[in-house]
């Protein structure tokens, strides 16, 4: 009997009492919100071992602090004296039903079952000041670099990761650029 989306959610909720189906799912895909970071390895083992989700597609996170600070962007002086500095495009956020700003890093994992063509998303909210999550590199080698990227750009520490160092940004760059409150520190290559 082929696996369905509802089966997957039901099995996950049965195994993890603190989990719940997400209130704002990723459009058209089953999304489950985990209750605590400790649930993640159990959920991953269930998905990989029993439900056939052996393909880890994506590890990422969303910073829900608020609109992005313009000090995170570095523009050069406009050298044309006759052209006014172009205004930044109007970004008018409203944050509607089910989505609000709070100091949370919302992690997202995406697993795929290649035989049954199913995909499931796992969510976990971690506090911004101490974002610590267990690593999945033991079960899925694909998590290795994606977790390093999340660490580099968002500052999430993955406990148990064999090599949690920067991967994309230059060594002299301090801070985590994708955070909404990232303020760029001037380096020798800026004006």
């Amino acid at each position: 009997m082929p696996l369905t989306k509802e089966d997957v959610i039901a099995r996950l909720l049965a195994r993890l009492p603190k989990a719940e189906a997400a209130s704002v799912p990723v459009r058209d895909y089953p999304t489950v919100r985990l209750g605590a970071p400790e649930d993640l390895p159990a959920a991953a083992r269930l998905l990989k071992g029993e439900l056939g989700f052996e393909y880890l597609e994506m590890v990422t996170a969303v910073d829900w602090l608020g609109p992005v600070r313009q000090e995170g962007f570095v523009s050069s002086r406009n050298p044309h004296p006759f052209l006014a500095q172009a205004p930044a495009p109007p970004v008018t956020p409203v944050a509607g039903p089910g989505i609000s700003y709070h100091p949370i890093l919302d992690m997202l994992w995406s697993f795929g079952n290649l035989r049954e063509n199913l995909k499931v998303f796992l969510r976990l909210a971690v506090p911004r000041d101490r974002p610590e999550v267990p690593t999945l590199t033991g079960l899925f080698p694909a998590a290795d670099w994606q977790e390093r990227e999340a660490f580099d750009l968002l500052g999430i520490r993955f406990t148990g990761h064999p090599n949690l160092i920067k991967i994309l940004t230059p060594d002299f760059l301090t801070g985590h650029p994708l955070r909404k409150d990232y303020v760029h520190q001037k380096d020798p290559y800026d004006e």
Partner: protein, 385 residues
């Protein structure tokens, strides 16, 4: 010609085991400026003689911070930046972003636009695989296929230039549809190109694919097993070269792919040659898809109605993925109701594919590094974003 390596050349036999002989490992730095690393990639190889004991890819030399920049651009401005991820095949990048944004807005793309999207993405797949063929030949040491491949590619670029004015970064697939229409002249020229390329692909098989030297250099090299490929999250021809039948166009069809009849080429052993030949066969299948799409091109609108000039999608989250030329390109888009995406994450296939080098290069000879790296077909714009 026997393409198996001689037993005495096996990797284990090349490591010095005589304790009286003092040896040391050597660290060799490949890149970031290197003719064969397909961009600015740095590979730190620790060698024991000719055998690699550790391979560490160092990336980030093309990290431009697109995900952060998208947070201050409007959705139409974002499409411009998407072109520059996988710049060898820019149409699927545009498409993935537009599909995610359209899911959030709830827009319904008209059928003519969908068919045009398919035609352009498949043409881009052929163009991208031609670049792969040419550059992989150069990596192995064959200079001639590069010239042939680029000559064919120029014909495709002429088609794109007729269509939208650009040769490499198109900004053609927009929110709700496509930007420009094609006419009978374009269709005739496209059909002419498809007729021209069919015998050329057979020519490449005699020139490169079944060339004995090429076979020896790629047939037993860079083996990735099925389980390994799935565990490392590979996608695209890298995954299918190992025998895993997963193609997003068949698994979760988008833009009307379910109406086109095409096969998904699969490899058997997961060697460099399997991945290479998957791409060559994919070019043939793309020709089929384009012919079918042009034959039943519906008429009608190009853009969905009701999308504002500066769209403000309602708050929500969406994930859309397409079968780009290099793998499964996914876009995770979060909107908070503003004019710019609140968060955009790119699940870049080349970024995930490149990590497998850490495993498959260990124990292999340094002379095979370029062959293995080339067969993964990475583009640093997508690895680093």
């Amino acid at each position: 010609m026997n393409s198996e390596p001689r037993p005495e050349m096996a990797a284990e036999n090349l490591i010095v085991t005589n304790p009286a002989l003092q040896t040391d490992t050597m660290f060799v730095n490949m890149g970031p400026q290197h003719p064969s690393t397909h961009g600015v990639l740095r590979l730190g190889l620790t060698l024991s003689g000719e055998v690699i004991t550790k391979a560490v890819p160092d990336i980030g030399y093309l990290h431009r911070g697109t995900e952060k920049l998208m947070e201050t651009r409007t959705y139409n401005q974002c499409v411009v930046l998407t072109d520059r991820w996988d710049y060898c095949s820019a149409m699927p990048n545009n498409l993935a972003f537009c599909l995610a944004a359209e899911k959030l807005i709830g827009a319904k793309v008209p059928p003519r636009a969908e068919a045009l999207r398919v035609v352009m993405c498949e043409l881009n797949r052929i163009a991208s695989h031609l670049i792969f063929l040419g550059t992989y030949g150069i990596d192995i040491g064959a200079f001639t296929p590069f010239l042939y491949a680029f000559r064919e590619r120029e014909m495709i670029l002429d088609l794109y230039e007729m269509l939208c004015g650009a040769r490499l970064t198109y900004n053609y697939i927009r929110l709700g549809g496509v930007a420009a229409d094609i006419d009978a002249g374009w269709i005739a020229k496209c059909r002419e190109f498809l007729e021209f390329i069919k015998p050329r692909l057979d020519e490449y098989d005699t020139l490169l694919s079944f060339n004995p030297i090429f076979l020896v250099r790629t047939k037993a090299i860079g083996l990735i097993s099925k389980d390994s490929a799935v565990a490392w999250g590979l996608s695209g021809p890298n995954l299918r070269g190992s025998g895993v039948n997963y193609d997003v166009r068949k698994a979760e069809p988008y833009c009307g792919y379910e109406q086109y009849d095409f096969e998904v080429p699969l490899g058997r052993t997961g060697s460099c040659w399997d991945r290479y030949f998957c791409r060559v066969q994919e070019m043939r299948q793309s020709v089929r898809i384009i012919s079918a799409a042009l034959a039943k091109l519906p008429s009608g609108e190009l853009l969905a109605k009701g999308i504002a000039k500066i769209p403000k999608p309602p708050p929500g989250e969406a994930y859309a993925h397409v079968e780009a030329s290099r793998g499964d390109l996914g876009i995770y888009l979060v909107s908070d109701g503003g004019t710019a995406p609140y968060r955009l994450h790119v699940r870049a296939p080349c970024f995930v594919n490149l990590a497998v080098l850490q495993e498959i290069l260990v124990g292999k000879k340094v002379a095979d590094v370029i062959a293995v790296l080339g067969s993964l077909d990475i583009v640093l714009g997508e690895v680093d974003r």
